[in-house]
Amino acid sequence: MSPPLIEARKMTKVLPGEVPVTLVADIDLAIAPREFIAITGPSGSGKSSLLYLLGLLDLPSRGDVLIDGRSTTAMSEEDRAEVRLSRLGFVFQFHFLLPEFSIAENVALPMRALGRLSPRAISQRAEELLTSLGLADHLRKTPDKLSGGQRQRVAVARALANDPPVILADEPTGSLDTAATAQVFGILRDLVLIRGKTVVAVTHDLNLAAQMQRRVHIIDGRLAQDELTHRALGASIPPGDSAGSAGQAPSR
């Protein structure tokens, strides 16, 4: 079995205050390469908090998060930022694209921040990623000129920009209609199937969760269930057009 890409050990997050609030408690979780994991649970159960902790956006109050076997709690904020930039990709419910920049520039941002590619190569890769997600005609448009589904595809392209092994998605289809949901879900699934990425997605949509390989269920911040769905990826494609999705995404 492959060593885990991300591993949570007795991870607990407590918000201090007069009445401390426990967001997640004693979570032990190992995420291996090429997994397609759904984090489910009722509203306020701590799904997103768990994702933010796994994605190093937040620090656990106790316990540890290991990325590629390295403890991250002792890391400096600079090192944690470096890990986020190069090893993790984020997709949020609300696309969070920078409104003044074109979508190609939005996708280029993480690559420019990492600084490993030349400006020409960055531009080329951004265009290839967007083209592979069916956005070739919109490269110079700003996000406000796109539909919700298109924006979310741009967010996926941006998450893939630095070719991270793990994509963390927080309700990626939460604000989309049925067709766009199917499209974005198809893209995420193809990332695992074709690109060999690990995708961890928070969702309250049990139908979608059922189509993922593994389901981690959270209740009151605790791991209530961690099960394999035994679903063969690609066996059931949700309605909508997922053609031209991550299947053509360029490799680096």
């Binding site: 997103s48 933010y52 994605g55 956006l57 937040d58 904020e77 600079e78 930022a81 470096e82 890990v83 986020r84 930039l85 190069s86 993790l88 984020f90 949020f92 609300f94 969070f96 920078l98 003044e100 920049f101 941002l109 993480p110 420019r112 921040a113 990492l114 941006r158 927080d170």
Partner: protein, 411 residues
Amino acid sequence: MKLVLSIAWTHVRHRARQTLVAIAGVMTGVAFSVMMAAMMEGSQDDFIRTLVDALPHISITDELRRPSRQPADRVFAAAEFHGLIPNVRRPGIKNPMATIASLQSWVPGALTASVQSKAVLRYAGRNLTVSIIGIDPHTEREVSTLASHMRQGNLNSLYRSSHAILLGDRLAAKIGARVNSNLTLASAQGVSMNATVAGTFHSGFRATDETTGYVLLRTAQILERQTGIINEIRIRTNDPMQARLISERIGEQTGYKAISWQEAQEDLLSAITLRNILMYTIVGAILLVASFGTYNIISTITHEKTRDIAILKSLGFRDRTIRAIFIVEALLIGLTGAALGWVFGYLLTRGLASLEFKTPFSDYNHLPVLYSLKHYLLAGAVALVSSLVAGYFPARAAARLHPVDIIRGAT
């Protein structure tokens, strides 16, 4: 850095109106600072130059720096005497020619002897008290600018008649005298003599032009009823700024009161210093107010951009990169404002210098201004530093944002 610059530029570009207002604030601050500095320092320089030109750099008079000690004081060191009348001193500098020769041996500059006197000038039924200065025309031209201020006649015209006088043009006009007019001078020593107007001068100082007349040394000595008297030695030093040091040394050497132009105009120079302090305070205040505009725009941008900051941090942007973005935005505003302020300030200064006005105190009808690179660099540097400070605090706050707090609250 290119990434930081491109994000910063995009932010300020998309807030054109606010950015322009902030830039206008900095520009106005810099422009008015440059203009004020040019005006204040220009008038100060002009004033000092005029002062230095018009006055002897050092004036040695026949007064003693310290009154001579009474014989009783010398004998009884611990005793104090009141009501003693000081010794009567013969007016004038003792052995003036020997003193001048001695000073000439080491003082860097030119010296001339003169006699200061007061007299009542009578002409056409009018009596006016005037200052009479006895001069040696040959050495006078090396020490003062009188020769260049002559309107009619010249310094040698004093040799044309036995008692010739050069009058200030305003004095001549006041009494209606012209060249070759004969007038009467009556001194406090009871000497009365006829004198012929040999020329007129115009120094530009109203007080001088209205109340002063120049005569030959011997004429003034006659008025003082003392042959050979010299009660003032005037010196023009090669470097006017050294006048104070030289005057101190002369005082020690001769025992007479030697007053440098700086000492003579101490009150005015103190006023200039005070004026400079006021000026730089006002200039600083203007630039400080301008920096509030920069602070405002950067604060507004960071406030509006909290979501973007959160997302950039979630993508892996470092705190220092986020901080740099907003500091660069402040610098963009500061730099643009400073550059435009330089141009605007230069044009304002030019405009100010071209304005014509009349003052009753002098003939200058244009405001003197000083174009100095120092003013531009200083105003620019203050504008940049204040923009930097104004941008730093919002930038630091932006970099400290916790992305999760923003992402959770985002809709």
